[in-house]
Symmetry: C2
DNA sequence: TTGTCATAATGTATGACAAATGAAATGCGG
DNA sequence: CCGCATTTCATTTGTCATACATTATGACAA
């Protein structure tokens, strides 16, 4: 049984959270400005104050806003948002500048994933390796493009989990959200074989417990991935070391 | 005017959030188990249901729990927690295994910061550089150890902001929380000169717009930092590439 | 400038009802 | 009597409405 419509059937306060959070991330409210008073939001969205307050609590917890009696609820500077929070991420990716954000997320991934692979090589347990291998095999056996991408995601997530370092895990979460929003990252048939070989190289290095080889193999994998992204979505995804000039 | 006592004067729901969240992170409730019903928590903590519900909303927003009518509120698997959320981080660091967690956070930092410095070299604006330089100067001019550490933190945070990539910022937030919990990371006089030189090296590379130099200088800086940490807090902080054996 | 106070916003408490769901009770056919 | 589907029931979260407490802002006055 599926959830018939996507946004249907969800609780009222999560809908309010979405609307308010999205409009903050979108920049409609502006840093330092105050939201309308709770009662006013109630009227605008035709819900009870309970619901509005719980939505505000959620957003406060994600660092987007802070409220004080009398002075109201203000938008905090984006430096203090939990930018890696799944919801915040989603609100970003719903915006018009999705390609910009995907590129930035890829920058973070490029920074973290080689180190994650290296840590996985030294810290992975047997079942971690089994999950990584399952990802590889899944890519191999995939008939549809959808299956291939799913296995690909599983592979990379498994590497983050294999670090046995929970602070790497939020980066893994990032994938699901990112990929769910933009499905065009899929491997388009032709370079599947190469991708497969490169994934196996990472797996082998991890199995061998060779941290440096795992790091190197991941760097290669990501470089090609970036190249594909440039081809598909534009030059925002160019590698970092190619922009010498100072801005502004 | 300061907040006289640390935990005093805080709102009731944030106190409840702390107590419940802390006990979850501490593992007192166990993954998959259900919390007591809301009304029961009300009685236990002698607060209204409003407060308990808002606390639960906050924790739900951080991915710690999920609730459904009748079945109750369950603890989600730690893979889905927002491990980099400041509160979650704090609850971790309040636990007994603080050194373990500090070591893991340092692993993440080691993965990200070299890349952040490289990005800063190519993307930093003038005011970003000014902030980084201010950090250096602050370390130079520091009389007390406290001032030195504060400037040190400011320096590193400025580098993350200079990436102009908001998804690196949560990592920077990490510092404040980490350092506020354990102040022993301070540079103990003797190796201040070396630290200063290494920080300036990073700054210079960023000013020059040389990404690879910035990355390399940061790697050096972190290596020495890790060495100091091992000396002060124990061998948990050893570099990753030195543990060949497979576990379990 | 300083102190006081009115006021408007969030914070907390309470009680009621709606909705969802897991589990027990029930009914039916075998 | 047993197995299985169905219904009913009870428990827990979800939502609403209202009242009052608390706090900080901004105006006013000394």
């Amino acid at each position: 049984m599926f959830q018939t419509s996507n946004a249907l059937r969800r609780s009222v306060h999560s809908q309010v959270t979405d609307r308010v959070g999205s409009s903050i991330v979108r920049g409609e409210i502006g840093v330092g400005e105050t939201l309308p008073p709770e009662m006013q939001i109630c009227e605008m969205m035709d819900v009870s104050r309970t619901v509005v307050r719980e939505a505000i609590r959620t957003l406060t917890g994600k660092g987007l806003i802070e409220s004080r009696p009398k002075s109201g609820t203000r938008v905090r500077p984006p430096e203090q948002w939990n930018q890696l929070d799944p919801d915040v991420l989603r609100w970003h990716l719903e915006s018009a500048e999705i390609d910009r954000y995907l590129a930035k997320l890829f920058q973070l991934r490029s920074a973290v994933e080689p180190a994650a692979a290296a840590l996985a090589a030294t810290h992975a347990a047997e079942d971690d390796i089994a999950r990584i291998r399952a990802g590889c095999d899944g890519m191999d056996a995939a008939k549809t493009n959808e299956d291939f991408v799913a296995a690909d995601i599983a592979f990379h997530q498994a590497i983050y989990f294999a670090t046995r370092n929970e602070f790497f895990w939020p980066i893994a979460q990032m994938f699901e959200i990112t990929l769910r929003q933009s499905f065009t990252i899929a491997a388009t048939g032709s370079h599947r074989p190469r991708a497969l070989i490169e994934h196996r190289a990472v797996l082998d290095a991890i199995v061998a417990g060779d941290a440096e080889a795992a790091r190197a193999a991941t760097v290669v994998l990501l470089a090609h991935s970036a190249h594909d992204l440039v081809r598909i979505r534009g030059r925002e995804f160019e590698t970092t070391s190619e922009r010498p000039g100072r801005k502004r």
